[in-house]
């Protein structure tokens, strides 16, 4: 599925926006906004069962980055294929999630208390289920800045 060359021999992967995820941000965050209370019925949408899996945030992230450089086989140009890396990273996230909560708590303790304090403050990322590392907050759109280009 990975494309390095688009149609016409170009390197840019193009899409007519048939893929939902590519434009989701545009549909949900951008566009004209009307400040009326939108009544959406939640009938039929079952609230997902909440699993008590807490991902230990930034420590997890750093370990993941360390893993990524550690796995590099620098003497060899081949190295591990991309898909494996992506998979490993998400699996790594899943792994930490599937640890029991108490065990997770123990890992958090294992780091120094200072580390824990810091990691609570920082937003951070890891596999699914944790806060993202960007500065966006829940419920709000990603901050973006508009500026003028030079074409006139």
């Amino acid at each position: 599925m990975a494309m390095t060359r688009g149609p016409g021999g170009g390197y840019v992967q193009r899409s007519g926006s048939s893929g939902l995820y590519e434009i989701l941000d545009l549909l949900l965050d951008k566009g004209l906004v009307i400040d009326v209370f939108l009544r959406v019925s939640l009938v039929g949408i079952e609230l997902l069962t909440v699993d008590a899996r807490i991902v230990i945030a930034s420590v997890d992230t750093y370990l993941r980055f360390a893993e990524a450089v550690n796995r590099l086989d620098l003497g060899n140009s081949e190295g591990e294929g991309l898909p494996d890396l992506v998979q490993d990273i998400t699996e790594g996230g899943a792994e930490s999630k599937s640890r029991g909560v108490l065990e997770g708590a123990k890992n958090a303790l294992f780091g120094s208390d200072d580390e824990d304090e810091e990691s609570e403050e920082e937003s951070s990322d890891s596999g699914s289920g944790s806060r993202s590392r960007s500065r966006s907050r829940s419920g709000s759109s990603s901050r973006s800045r508009a500026s003028r280009g030079r074409q006139s």
């Binding site: 599925m1 590519e22 209370f37 959406v40 008590a52 998979q87 824990d116 993202s132 960007s134």
Partner: protein, 102 residues
Amino acid sequence: MGLFTGLLTLPLAPVRGVAWVAEQIMDEAERQLYDEATIRRELLVLELEFEEGVIDELELRDREEELLQRLEVSHARARMEVADGQPEPGQDERAEDENGRQ
């Protein structure tokens, strides 16, 4: 936030028993589950995995559907919070509930 520091320093005295701890964890887990930034990031990861051949289209659709549902709930919850203070019949209990949980 200090969720875990809290857990650490508390003796499991009768005042705050296991049930209280469990509820704090559930609250936090639920908050993360419906945190919009988290969900968006998961959608991005999903996109990468699909493009890089880690998952197939079927799995993409499944997980995308789940994420969109969570996103919808996330938005609904955000709207209920915004509606706090707006005169809305029947809305008050729910608004207080959200407030109480915060």
